[in-house]
Each structure stands twice: as C-alpha cells, then as structure tokens.
C-alpha cells in the first residue's frame, strides 16, 4: 500500500495512478494558479491537465483534475480528496460520498485520497472564521456538506458540457447514471473516464444557484448503508497509523517530560545515558530530556536510568486536586468574583425577588484523560542545509501543525510536508501540536529521521485533561411552579473549554445569568469529546430533575414544559421516552433516568437503566435508549456507531474516570489505575435517529453529554440520593449514600 493512499473502491483496478497515489493532487497546475481560481468560488477551480483545453492524453493515468476535489482517469477511476482526519468517526468516507452523490459517480470506482494540507482550498471556516484543516467539534459533515455537494454538481456539469460537445448534441438532451453520461434519444453512453480523457474545464464553473442539486429523495449514496472505506484495513492489520511508519535510517525517540507541567530540566546524567548501548543522542529540551536510539526498547531501558533535577517554580506545583473544589467553591461565593458572562436573559434580579422558592446545588467534575488507544507519536525527517521537513502523523489539525513546524525550523511553510495517517483515537487530544513538534526537535538534534513515541505512562502523566470544574446552580420558581430564574456559575480552568455547553438555548426560562469564573491551576487542559458539554449537562440535567423531585413533578413533564418553544427538541424528548420504558415500567432493583442535551445544532434525549451493586458500591448500566436529531444523516450505520461509542465513553467517564493531582503531578500512570469501561460492563444500546431533511449537524459528540446526568437521575430514582460529583465511583457513591439528601 502506497503511503498516500487512503482506500480504493472495490471495483478500482490496481495499478492505476489515481488509486495508488495522491501526491500530485493537481499535477501540472501551479499552486498560485490554483489559489487564484478559488476567488469567489466555494471551492477552488483547477484547470485540466492541459489548460489550453487540448488533450490530456499524454498524462494517461495522471487524469484530468476537474476540480480541487476530484480527478478522473481514463479508466474512469474517480479520485476524491478527503480533507479531514480519520479517527474512527467515518468522515473520510462521508465527505467523498457527498461529492460522489452529486457528481453521480460510480461508488465502486471511487478512490479516496488525502487532500494536500492546503487550508485555503481544503479547509473550512466553521470554527474560527478563517480557513483551517481542523477536524474537531463534530463539524466535518456540517462544515463541508454544501460545498461538497456544489463541488460534485460542478464536476457533473463539466462532464455533461464536455459530453455534449463530444457527442455533438444539446446539453439538455443528456442525463447521468452512476459513472456515465447518457444520451437517451440515441442510446449512446459515455463513461466519465472517456469524457475526462479529452475534457476541457471551463474558466468559470457554474455558481451554486445555477446548479441543480439533488432533492433528498433522489439520494442513492447519502443516507444509505455504505461500507466505510477504512474498515478492511482495520480488520487485516494493514491500516497504517503514524506509529507504523518506518523510514530508512530512522531511529526511535522518547522524552522524559517534567512530572509537573511547566517545569524544566536543570541537570541530568547525560554522560551515563549517552554511553548506554544503542543510544545515539541525549537531547535537552525546555520541558524534558529526549533520548534517541537505534531501537525503542533500548531507548525505554536507557530512560529508566535517566536522572533529572527539575525546576520547582511551575505554578502547578501549588495545585492539589483534593483541595481544589473547596477553593473553587469559596471563589465562586465571592460577590466580586471576576466572572465572564456566558449567557444572559431577562432580569435575573427581578426573578430572584419574585421567586416563591429558590433551589441551589453544586456539581463537581474531576479531570478526565483522553485514553486514545494509540499513544501519541510522530515520525519526522529533515533534509538539506535549508531543511525540508516531513512529518508522518495522526493529527486533527494538520494545517496548524504545518505552520508551527515551519516556525519552529525558521523555514518557509512550502518546505514542510505533512503526511496524514489514521489516528488511533483523537477525542480532542490530537488537535494540539506538541507531539509533532517534539518529533521534529528530536530529528533536528539527532540528525536522523526519528519516530517519537509516548509510552502510556507519558500519555497519562503528561496528559492534557478535560478540566476539573465546579458548577454552581441556582433556580427560582414562581408561585405557579414555573422556573423563572436560572443562575449557573462554571468554575474551572480554561475559558475556551470549561463553559461550553453551559447555555440552555432550548429551555424556556425567561431570566438567566450564566457565567464563568476562570481558575488557573497550571495544569494542561484540552478539549475532550464534547468538551464542556458533559460536565455542564451533568449539572443542568441533574438540577432539572432535582427541582422536579422537590416539587413532586414528573421530570419528563417538567422538561416538556421547558422545551415548549422547540418542536424539534420536544420530538427528541418524546421519542426517547416512547422508545424506552421510562415512566411505564421498572424492573425490580433497577431504575431509569432521563436527560436531554443539545450539542451545538444536534439534539438528543436519552434514558438509562441502572442498578447498584451494593457491596462494592458500583453502578451498573444495563440498557440505554437514545433519540437523536442531527438533520440529514449521511451514513446512518456510522452515525449509530458514533452514538454507541459516545455512550460507552460517556458511561466510562461518568462511572470510572478520574485524574488526581498532587503538587502538580498526576497520580495515575496506566490502565491499571486509570480504568476505562470494558466489554463486561457494556449495556444494551438502542438508537433512534430521527428522520430529517434539515442540513446535517454533528454526530461525533452528541451521544455523550446525556450519560452522566441520566445515570445520576436514575440513581436518585433508585436510592433517593443525589450524585453530585462525577465520576460516580464507589467512593463518591458511598459519600452520596451518607448524604441526608436535602440538597435543594
């Protein structure tokens, strides 16, 4: 398998350029010209292999670059460029599928290749308003859907125009069938490959409004059961992750990073390490000591003998997770706390003044680790006096990484090549550049290509975590039982992470004050699947149930009342209750809990069924029901798989996962003391995707945030006690069981 290949269609003949390599993604077209062509278009227009419009035949097998997204060779193999990272979420199939749908490609003759790292062409601006190649936030299908439909339709248009000319018939007399243009009147048929051989690409492609996009009812790929292209390699061991890349002359590197984030090595036994067998370089870095050697076990062994004296002045040295919540709570209570507004509505002071009852509760969330199964790693090779850098990596943010490598080396970005590889899990961890830049630094210092590998212990002890947080909730209810005031103060590290999901855009509560009090622990924090939604929905959805219980209202009916302004949200809630036994029947020793959550534009409501294993004080989740509205679903089975995965990860984090910190150092070190959910604890899961013709929205994270509060609500139904500290491990369960229950 060639390095740049992602996958070929089953019907794609081997040995054909388009399928073997994506390297010359737009061969014969200068980058400048390429970029010029992008002005005013939703995708860059590339010219054919013969810009004058003449024959492209000299490049048989090179293919006609009809657009930045598509190349068609003489045999009719259609190469579609995928701009996003593949970390198991399925987007590397979903995005090409959208193009193939509108251009009427024969899916069996579609090959998928990674696009070059050219954000101006292949990026999206859904997150920061400027073009980036950044696979995060469940945005891929949502951000690219319209553009790729238009791109596909433009390619179809070009093929039709050329076919009309080649056949000498009117454009309007032609139609397409998968992989070919038809002239029904004469029965003639031209395959896309035949057309592409002699195709001329017009200077200006038709604008979106001039194109006919397929109505939803005409889709034959979108919404159907199409096998993900990355699956076969993932069952026979051939799928290539960055850790699997070998280069000639490559050596192996590891880094002993400071146990406390922000510390630096002051002194270390360099000579001892350098003299060990198979060790070729010992490299001081700002944040640690790198060791490069001829094989990884030798480097691991050498690292065990490394002795480093670390600086002791990092802010995190003063941080203990044990005592942090007390600090957070006292800071949150200060009248002059320097809060940032997250959302506000109405007049919260007036709501307070007129409330018949006020309810309050605090909810706590620990640090959580990504635990992606492939430890962080990257392979870097530098060459030349004015270095060129090549990096093989599984990155969620290759365009940012490329720029960072150029800056680090002081070279032009054109001299940096990023070779995308499958990600053995991302979950937000791989959208930061640290591990890629480390590999470049080691390769630069050791003067050989280097494969940098983090051990699992490195991955945890030097992890970047979902921030621990405190959610302080307060709600005012009027004499008629309506929630009229809602205060939510989020306290924790990292303003860009910790308050996401704290808004309640679907709940009809007229007066709201949602704010953030940012803490600075000195710990490294990072986006983690659904970012702040899981901790914030834990607080919000638990609190809703607590209010309902205190007022002897049905939690489902209370949510119906709050969601009354959104028919979409009401439908999701009703479907979840309809598909589950919620409010109908409960098995002995078990209880059900309900929660609602939006994640950006997608909606869910879910029900869990739990029991409590009393002697070990552990919760078992038996069954889960989830209703989802994420608009048009491009790959239905994949969307269900994403829900299943998010539910498992959500339950895992809600029941088991905690990172504890003492004087800035992480206590946990491997899966023995950082447990994640296993097969034996996996519940039965039922998913209902709600049929929709609305534009697609994210599916990667929406299945996660409801899990924590649904479990806590089920626990309250089972025991009458409230879990207000996630994870619900045995010590937190035991504490909750001792509580008098009088929270609100």
């Amino acid at each position: 398998m060639k390095a740049s290949e992602l996958s070929c269609g089953t019907g794609v003949p081997s040995g054909i350029g388009a399928c073997e390599s994506s390297a010359p993604a737009y061969s014969g077209i200068s980058r400048r010209r390429f970029l010029q062509g992008s002005a005013g278009l939703s995708f860059a227009l590339a010219l054919g292999a013969a810009p004058s419009g003449g024959s492209a035949k000299e490049g048989a097998g090179i293919g006609a670059g009809i657009s930045a997204w598509v190349r068609i060779d003489a045999a009719g193999v259609v190469t579609i460029y995928n701009p996003v990272a593949e970390m198991g979420q399925g987007s590397s199939t979903a995005l090409p599928l959208i193009v193939a749908e509108e251009m009427d490609a024969d899916w069996d003759k579609v090959a998928i290749a990674y696009s070059p790292i050219e954000p101006d062409i292949y990026g999206h601006d859904a997150i920061h308003g400027r073009m980036m190649m950044l696979t995060v936030g469940s945005f891929s299908v949502e951000a690219y859907f319209d553009r790729l439909r238009i791109a596909g339709a433009q390619v179809r248009h070009v093929l039709l125009v050329n076919a009309a000319e080649q056949l000498g018939v009117a454009l309007a007399s032609l139609s397409t069938t998968p992989g070919a243009v038809l002239h029904p009147a004469s029965g003639r048929r031209l395959g896309y490959g035949e057309i592409a051989q002699h195709a001329k690409v017009p200077q200006a492609l038709p604008e979106a409004q001039e194109l006919r996009l397929k109505p939803v009812g005409e889709f034959r790929l979108i919404g159907k059961s199409i096998l993900r292209r990355d699956l076969r390699g993932k069952v026979d061991g051939s799928a290539e992750f960055a850790i699997d890349v070998d280069l000639p002359g490559m050596q192996f590197g590891m880094i002993q990073r400071a146990p406390v984030a922000g510390s630096s090595p002051l002194a270390f036994n360099r000579e001892v390490i350098a003299a060990l067998p198979d060790i070729s370089a010992v490299i001081p870095l700002d944040h640690g000591v790198g060791i490069v050697g001829k094989n990884l076990p030798a480097v691991m062994k050498a690292r065990q003998q490394l002795q480093v004296e670390w600086s002791k002045d990092a802010p995190a040295e003063k941080f203990d997770s044990d005592t942090a919540f007390e600090h957070y709570a006292s800071e949150a209570a200060k009248g002059d706390a320097p809060v940032k507004r997250v959302d506000s509505k109405g007049d919260i002071a007036a709501a307070d003044a007129s409330a018949a009852a006020i309810y309050r509760a605090d909810y706590l969330n620990d640090f959580v680790y990504h635990a992606q199964m492939e430890p962080l790693n990257a392979v870097a090779a530098l060459s030349g006096d004015v270095p060129r850098a090549e990096l093989w990596i599984g990155s969620q943010f290759p365009s940012g990484l490329r720029a960072e490598v150029a800056t680090l080396l002081g070279i032009d970005i054109a001299k940096v090549t990023i070779h995308a590889r499958y990600l053995g899990g991302g979950f937000g961890r791989r959208s930061w550049h640290d591990f890629g830049l480390e590999a470049v630094q080691l390769a630069q210092q050791a003067k050989v290509p280097v494969k940098l590998v983090w051990s699992r212990e490195d991955d945890i002890r030097n992890g970047m975590f979902r921030p621990m947080s405190l959610q302080r909730m307060e709600a005012g209810v009027d004499a008629d039982g309506n929630i009229t005031g809602w205060r939510h103060r989020v306290v924790g590290d990292n303003a860009s992470i910790v308050a996401t999901g704290a808004k309640i855009p679907f709940y009809a509560i007229p007066n709201q004050a949602i704010d953030l009090l940012e803490m600075r622990s000195g710990m490294k924090t990072k986006h983690w699947r659904s970012v702040g939604y899981a901790p914030n929905k834990f607080a919000i959805e638990s609190f809703i149930d607590e209010i309902a219980t205190a007022r002897k209202e049905d939690p489902y009916q209370l949510r119906r009342k709050l969601l009354r302004d959104s028919p979409r949200a009401l439908k999701v809630l009703d479907e979840a209750v309809d598909m589950s036994p919620y409010g109908k029947e409960t098995a002995p020793g078990r209880a059900l809990g309900l929660a609602f959550s939006e994640h950006q534009k997608s909606l869910t409501a879910g029900v869990v069924e739990i029991s409590l294993v009393e002697d070990t004080a552990r919760i078992r989740v038996h069954r889960v029901w989830l209703a989802v509205d994420a608009g048009i679903i491009v790959q239905p089975d994949n969307a269900i798989a994403q829900m299943e995965g998010a539910i498992i990860q959500g339950i895992s984090s809600a029941l088991l996962e905690t990172v504890s910190v003492k004087s800035g150092a992480v206590h946990q070190s491997n899966f023995g003391d950082y447990e994640i959910l296993r097969m034996a604890d996996t519940p039965e899961i039922a998913i209902r995707m709600i049929a929709s013709e609305a534009p697609p929205t994210g599916i990667g994270e929406i299945g996660l945030p409801f899990t924590g509060p649904a479990i806590a609500n089920a626990f309250a139904a089972l025991t009458g006690k409230r879990l207000r500290h996630m994870p619900f491990n045995s010590s937190n369960i035991k504490l909750a069981m001792l509580d008098d229950g009088g929270a609100v």
């Binding site: 061991g237 199964m373 299943e644």
Partner: protein, 153 residues
C-alpha cells in the same frame, strides 16, 4: 540468538533477549498490525497467538518465544480467522481501528476454544480495551462468526 516462527516464517532475532516480543514483531519482523497500547498487558492491543495461546506480546520477552510459533493479525488463517474478519466487516466493528487487531486475535482464540460462546463467555474472554466503544459490535460479530459455524462468508 532466538529462533522461532512468525506466521509460519522462520525468524531469527539477534537483539537483546529481554526485548518484549511486541517490538520484535513490529520492528524486527516489520509486522505492524500488532499494536502498542499500554506496555503492561492491560489493553490487549498487542495480542498474538503464541504456539496456540492468546498472549499479550508486550509482556513476553523475546527469549520466551524461542522454538515457538507466533501468529499475528497478518497471519490468522483458517476458517475461524476468516469468519471473524468477515463478521467484523458485516457488523462494521472498527472505528479508529487501533485496538481491533488485538480484539480479533482474542475473538479467534475464543472461537477456537468455544465455537458457540454465550454473552457471559464473551465478557470473560474479551478483556481488551476499546476507547471508541465498539464492544457491542464486537459481541455481535463474535456471535455472527459463531453462527456462521466457522464458515467465512
């Protein structure tokens, strides 16, 4: 010098005999389907069959493989292996895919020992970690492979 076979091929390893078998498979034999996940036998990503026994190769020194036969994901042959891989595709099991070689090695081992496992059998045998949460599909695929009676579709 340690001699053994990997997927039927005679192999000689001349490095440090304490080298974990995982790295011999990956970096000396160049078979990358067997993965490094934790290095302490917790996650199962490195699972192989060592003379017919399911083994976490990160825990075994190369010296322990002397004279034995190692089978990796690239070498699973026989009807059970093909039936499991076919079932894995039918159920669309993998997400990121990193743990799946180990999952499949464990499943093939389970079906060799127990051609019709119950859910409880699967729970006991399948202790590999999957962060993407594919467990439900792994279970379904094992039942499917078992129902196929070891016949690859």
């Amino acid at each position: 010098m340690i001699e053994f076979t990997i997927n039927g091929q005679a192999t000689v390893f001349k490095g440090d005999p304490e080298t974990p078998l995982l790295w011999v498979i990956r970096d000396s034999a160049g078979l990358k389907g067997t993965k490094f996940g934790c290095g302490v036998g917790q996650c199962g990503a490195c699972s192989v069959h060592l003379s017919g026994n399911l083994t976490r190769s990160c825990l075994i020194p190369a010296s322990a493989a002397a004279g034995m036969s190692v089978v990796t994901i690239e070498g699973i042959e026989g009807i059970a292996g093909r039936a499991v891989q076919a079932a894995w595709i039918e159920e669309s099991v993998p997400q990121c895919g990193y743990c799946q070689s180990g999952m499949i090695m464990a499943a093939v081992d389970l079906l060799h020992r127990n051609p019709t496992p119950t859910d409880a059998d699967i729970n006991r045998a399948m202790t590999n970690l999957c962060r993407c949460g594919t467990y439900g599909r792994v279970r379904a695929a094992i039942h499917r492979a078992a129902a196929a009676g070891g016949q690859a579709s």
